[in-house]
Amino acid sequence: MPDAAIPRLSGVVIGGDAALAGAVRDALGADGVQILGGLPGARQLDILVFIAAAGVAEGVTGVSVAAFSDGLGGELGSAFLSLQLAVAAMRAKGAGGSVVFVAPTSAGRRAFGPLQQGLRLMTKAAALELGPEGIRVNIVLPGDGDAPLGRSCTPDDVAASVAFVASDRARFMTGADLVVDGGRAAR
């Protein structure tokens, strides 16, 4: 007889500030996902959410090569390691899985734009490689600042999209972008 105390799904949320990470955990929790403390301890896993840092909000001439390399390489490396650890735990469970990267689109206009684009391509490469195992990989791209809809993107906006992509409702979605920017990129 199944134990009602054992949740059907487990997930890990890495990165993000307290407000965003908290909103994502709450949204996943509302879908019945048990949030685990971290990846090294996860023996079995269904969902990984990796929230990339926005990077330094400076133009390409306003940041040193050392800071650029550390920021870009460090964050991409963290995402890569998180993906590898999560996939190992998803394989251990053998029920597929869902990886959701989150990368702010404002970075696209600043020195750390390559971080966002790097994560987009990592998303697509991982989706192609892991699709046959039923592991989906997608990226949510929140925008900030002025938007046609007349307000900024909130943590709850991002969390709702992450929860959708992570869930079975998006079971045929992989390798895809979900832009949450109030119409900014449509202009």
Partner: protein, 247 residues
């Protein structure tokens, strides 16, 4: 809610899901028998729906659909511009009338749906108005033998993004997004290529997730794009294709 092409495939599953979520749905399409069947299915699940015959390229038909939705369902919250025509022919065999036929249905039909949908949603004035354009992966990448179809789906992208910007400036705002399905097992596909399980297996083998898309998966994505969860999502292309377009 208005769902065009609700007699079959993605539209039918979407109409059923929206009705299960409590929406009153105007199901439109060309086949009256199929339309009656969808309304009966929805009624059997305690949902509310009407069928309205609809050639989406006809402005008069659109005005009839919206008039009946307003009179019989209490107004229009959203529109799912789902109906479309498909054609596979090499470019050199595609005639100008072929091209016009597809454009009239896929582009003129979607244009009328957004334009008249905006007016109807604004009249209703309830807020949270949203329109979903059901485009295709073929609106994002080329597909040999589908020049005219790809062109119509590409046109829908520009229509969607511009309407999204204008819709955002309305009060209350209206969101507009496009959904880009990969290969979905619907009458549009089986009517073109044959209703053969071996073909479904071949499509699945050619899809990174190793599965064939089902209309219900698209209905889930459309519900997301219509609802509050996507309150800050507008003007986007949402690709749900099993990973085909990621390569």
């Amino acid at each position: 809610m208005i769902v065009t092409g609700a007699t079959k495939g993605i539209g039918r599953e979407t109409a059923r899901l929206l009705a299960r979520e409590g929406a009153r749905v105007a199901c439109t399409g060309r086949d009256r028998a199929d339309g009656a069947a969808v309304v009966a299915e929805i009624a059997a699940e305690d949902g509310a729906a009407i069928f309205v015959p609809h050639d989406i390229s006809s402005e008069a038909d659109w005005r009839t659909v919206i008039g009946r939705a307003e009179a019989e369902l209490g107004g229009v919250h959203g529109v799912v511009n789902n109906a479309g025509a498909f054609m596979v022919k090499p470019l050199t065999e595609t005639t100008a009338p072929d091209f016009q036929y597809l454009f009239d249905i896929n582009v003129r039909g979607a244009f009328l749906g957004v334009k008249l949908g905006f007016e109807a949603i604004a009249r209703h004035g309830a807020g949270n108005g949203a329109i979903v354009m059901v485009s295709s992966l073929m609106g994002q990448v080329g597909f040999p033998g589908a020049t005219a179809y790809c062109a119509t789906k590409g046109a829908m992208t520009g229509l969607t993004k511009t309407a999204a910007i204008e819709g955002a400036a309305m009060s209350p705002p209206i969101r507009v997004n496009s959904l880009h399905p990969g290969v979905i097992w619907t009458p549009m596909i089986t009517g073109q290529f044959g209703d053969d399980p071996a073909l479904a297996d071949a499509f699945a083998a050619d899809t990174p997730l190793r599965m064939i898309g089902l209309p219900s998966y698209m209905a889930d994505a459309i519900l997301f794009l219509l609802g509050d969860e996507s309150a800050h999502v507008t003007g986007i292309e949402l690709t749900v294709d099993g990973g085909r377009g990621a390569d």
